[in-house]
Amino acid sequence: MHGRRVSESSAGAEKFGWSRAGLEQFALLSSRFQVPRLRPHELPVLTACCSGVPRCLAGRRVSIRFLVSEKMTEEPDFLGQDSDGGSEEVVLTPAELIERLEQAWMNEKFAPELLESKPEIVECVMEQLEHMEENLRRAKREDLKVSIHQMEMERIRYVLSSYLRCRLMKIEKFFPHVLEKEKTRRDGEPSSLSPEELAFAREFMANTETYLKNVALKHMPPNLQKVDLFRAVPKPDLDSYVFLRVRERQENILVEPDTDEQGDYVIDLEKGSQHLIRYKTIAPLVASGAVQLI
């Protein structure tokens, strides 16, 4: 298995003076860093990597508690304590956690609407970053290890920041719709806003409404002073097309084509296949994790 991957990449790499052993090492490690279909200018070029998982990351398992059928009323428990029976605990290695972060990041980047909030991932990643920082402080001044760990930390911090920025941007862009969706959300349904994001969205709305009222609307004729922002601000375009890769096989997905001549038809999505499809059709599959936007 290693042999095959090395021969695929050796043509390019050998001209840079890489030995076979070096190549194998690289192939092994680049699979760990591989993120599907990211555009070149968005990813750092991997020219050097440490041998094996950085020690600051390895060795500490992260416990994420997902409450299955009830509202998340308590903070995620990082110590792995099992308090009530109604919760399902998922233990992730740090590497798995970062993979989940990257998946959430890509989905959020390419989806036209604001996706479900993932507070447990955000909190755990923040915790990991803190641990890494602590380890760095305690470590001896071995230039190489320290800088490689710093590299990893900056990379993770970039992904997390980019993810949160993307969400904030969507919240600001679609604020009346986001707030309305939250208002009409039923108990038990997952929210697309974390409590802090909800507060931010509300403040943004209040700020903007107050501004418009004071600067213009209150000086207008009485029957024109109310502007319905829900109708004035455009909705996210759920009909836009997205690229995806299938992670779990799906059967009988109903596709409604653009033109009226074609009728609705049904397709199956094979595992590992990639598609360009209207977002609206597969939105629930993104939420469930069955497909990954790329």
Binding site: P44, E123, E130, L144, S147, R155, F200, F204, L212, H219
Partner: protein
Amino acid sequence: MFCEKAMELVRELHRAPEGQLPAFNEDGLRQVLEEMKALYEQNQSDVNEAKSGGRSDLIPTIKFRHCSLLRNRRCTVAYLYDRLLRIRALRWEYGSVLPNALRFHMSAEEMEWFNNYKKSLATYMRSLGGDEGLDITQDMKPPKSLYIEHFLPRWKCEQLIRQGVLEHILS
């Protein structure tokens, strides 16, 4: 023609390239609001005439003025809202403290909106966990330049270079 001034406001922003904030056109806004007031008052009197004096021939004019009022409002709100979006982008571009040149282009109310926005954003970032939260206005680009050039003594790196962990940069 009605709504000329309102269209001018919109055109002004349309001409300014992305990210640029022209000076706040207080005069223009005032003129639009005055036009709206005049149109409304004319409509009020015409509506009364139409109702009491039976002048139903005034109705098309009333409708026309009403459309102009709606258009004025739409252009005004679009102008103000688009400026807010540009101001918001400034926070992400320049940080908390704006250069003076830009501040002079903002009205007092816009400044207030900006301060509220900053505060809201700061509260959100602080809440992200840890001691001071996470400043997401940093790390705007992926870390490319981390592959720093180290000057290590040759004997330390020889083995690592052979393993493919390090690359000897000759530039």
